[in-house]
């Protein structure tokens, strides 16, 4: 049996990795639940964001957080224009999965072309900073990820719940024609929502760049577990991915600590299967 400190440390790292799952899942869940689009390209955008952060930090010597000033508006525009394309062709949910897979492949090739297939690790001022909390280590990049994930999830939740714009978005997601009949401009709202989701992907990209080695093929490594997080958290629910992400993150890191790292995927995907089957009964 591993020591208490080791277990506590793995719970902590589970929370951190879970926060990143939640942050990646947030944008995916919003567009999936509210616009009925399954956006695989979300992962490609996150990695594109990570590489841009890497480039600006490494090449131009920016502070990693400052890169958000560039990445967020650019990604907002990118996300909105992607949605414009989908809306223009009235794409079905399943076909959105295929189209965004195509976009993912294109972005992957683009990344590989610019930055090559080699692994890249960003050195930043934050990378080496670690706090000590009792016997536990708290690395600053992971802590930043957690703070960003919680802040954005709460902001999305509050925005959808308390602002007129958010209410209109929820109404349009529920029943677009009826919402339109009550004066909700469903088209521009969905452009806004996709833009925000893509911007979230950009922020997640920053977090990936802070803590992980980058390689183009890594885009696909996140898809499975983040899909599980999104499903378990509930489609369109802004808090769900974060909670589900942390649950999965902790159970994964405990599995790693208690058995071997290779068993970790079993937890998240078994959980996903159980959730899907349980939900199907209700339908």
């Amino acid at each position: 049996m591993p020591s208490f400190t080791l277990l506590a440390q793995s719970v902590l790292s589970g929370i951190f990795i879970g926060a990143l799952y939640g942050l990646l899942g947030l944008g995916l869940s919003l567009t999936w639940g509210m616009l009925r689009q399954i956006n695989l390209a979300h992962f490609a955008l996150a990695f594109l964001g990570a590489y841009l952060t890497f480039q600006l930090t490494h090449g131009a010597g920016w502070d990693p957080l400052a890169t958000l000033l560039v990445v967020v508006p650019c990604f907002f525009l990118l996300g909105a224009s992607m949605h414009w394309l989908f809306a223009r062709f009235a794409i079905t949910p399943f076909n959105s999965l295929l189209v965004t897979f195509g976009l993912t492949v294109i972005v992957e090739s683009l990344i590989q072309w610019i930055w090559t297939a080699d692994q890249r690790l960003m050195d930043s001022a934050y990378g080496a900073v670690r706090f000590k909390l009792g016997a536990l280590y708290v690395p600053l990049p992971e802590l930043l990820t957690l703070v960003l994930a919680v802040a954005l999830s709460l902001a999305a939740w509050a925005g959808l719940r308390y602002t007129d714009l958010g209410r209109a978005m929820r109404a349009a997601a529920e029943d677009a024609p009826i919402a339109a009949a009550f004066g909700v401009n469903e088209r521009s709202l969905s452009l806004l929502l996709s833009g925000i989701s893509a911007a979230f992907a950009g922020v997640a990209g920053l977090c990936i760049a802070l803590s992980f080695t980058l390689a183009p093929s890594q885009i696909y490594a996140w898809i499975g577990v983040v899909f599980a997080v999104v499903m378990i958290g509930g489609l369109g629910n802004p808090i769900g991915p974060l909670v589900a992400g942390i649950v999965i993150g902790i159970s994964e890191s405990l599995t790693m600590a208690l058995t071997s790292p290779a068993w970790a995927p079993l937890v998240s995907f078994s959980l996903l299967i159980v959730v899907l089957l349980a939900r199907a009964k209700k339908i």
Binding site: W113, I273, A280
Partner: protein
Amino acid sequence: MRVTASGWIAIAGLALATVPFFKPPAFYETFLYLVFYWIVLATSWNILSGYSGYFSFGHGAFFGAGMYTTATLSGRYDWAFLWTLPAAALVAALFGTAIGAVVFRVGRLRGELFALLTLAVTFVLATVVLNTRIDGGQGVNLGGVALPAIGPTPSATFYFLALALTVITLWTARGIYQARLGTGLFAIHDDEDVAEVLGVPTLRYKLVAFGVSCALAGVAGGIHAMFVSYVTVGETFSIIVPLTVVLMSVLGGTRHWLGPTVGATIITGLVYAFTAGDYAIAGRAAVGLILVVVILFMPNGVLGRFAGRSRTPTRAPDANRTAPAAARSTAPAQTRQQRQGEILLDARGVSKAFRGVQALDRVDLQVRRGEILGLVGPNGSGKSTMINVVSGHFLLDSGRIAFGDREVSGMAAHRIAHAGIARTYQIPRPLAHMNVLENVALPAMFGRNSLGRIDAEREARDWLEFTGLAGKADALPDDLNLHQRKFLELARALASRPSLLFLDEVLSGLTPSEIDNAIATIRAIRDQGATIVFVEHVMRAVMELADRIVVLNYGRVIAEGLPQDVMQRPEVVTAYLGKPHA
């Protein structure tokens, strides 16, 4: 002599089998091997997912199950390679059917949820394989396994194996496409509830399709294990296999048996053309771009766009045998006279609740053979629920229903359809991708009489004649107006030759003259020997047609008897109009 599609497959297969004898450079055979390999994977995926609309993202799991079966049996237990292939098929098929037996039973898990579930199964299987003795994390090396010398060279051997499997796969896909199984799967694709009510054994069909699909993928995996000769979890269970397979099928067209072949050939060719040169990265990007453009501009795939509907052509009926259906079915009228009045459907104490709402509360309902029973009551009184319970769409909470001398409560809906109960839907639910004739032929194929396709279409044409839709036989349901769609519902219910027919508000939304027409039609149906229960709000029709009336309110039977008598009772008037306060 006309060569059938199966014949063409055989001819193409034989022609391609001569290729190795021209001694081409090995990379041609290897390239063609890859084309065949993807054709098999994409086509086998399409048998379940394309035909029935259950898009699976778990094809990698079944392919991988076959791959590791061959790797384990030949690598560890020294089986001869060829003997591992049937085992690979069996393992993959059993695995798939077991998953299907759980997933298909639990609920209607379709679309992206089914896709995700099957994807999750892939990752679970991968983790188990990786961490157990099956792989152990190092991968399985098959370098030492003897390859049977089927062809002159190893690459020719793989070529022959893959070619043979491709021919078998295409025969299977085409065979299922033409057979009842295919028709049933396409009906499931459009509307699973309706398919079941029309008599399609949906659960069994999905399981069979899943099993066949997995078995073929398993064999492909078995051959591929030997081809790559070094099997690893990372390569086998990646997300690339399911995504590529879906992409190929959608590109080619999922509603045609040949669609995946077209897609697989195009994609494999493109990938090869690009990656062979110095532009590997540009090649990948091009494949991605093609995918985006194709889905945006041809959502139904290449064959969906360019090939027409190519099912077995149906002949129009001969001029001299268009006798109306009514004339042909006078025979049962004799027996009908004798058995008139006997109880055909006997429902006792039927209850059904939805969460808090008691939709049916201990309802007793007897239907006598040969009568027209009007089932009336205000909105929400439980009339449609009663139809849904009797036809097997909902399980009842308590009570029992006997039909003739059989107990039908708790039976699957398709077996109830077989027993001779048919229904229409209040809001017409035609199968959108089938034309009017195919819609009506379906219950004739799957219902009580289980006719062959030709006979079923002949039967269907009779009923189209009878309902005045003969001119629309080739139209798609979307092209019909409401009146015609209602009559399509009717024709479809009649085509199974039911002994008991439930009509759920067939008259609502029709104009007065259309109603007159419909009343005459319903009379004509009864005169042919069917017993009819009809739910209706058009009181004129109820009074004209019904021999007897049962009134429901809040899920209870509040009155029963002759039309004029029942509709004047105070409790019935109250139920419809509310209490008089004056």
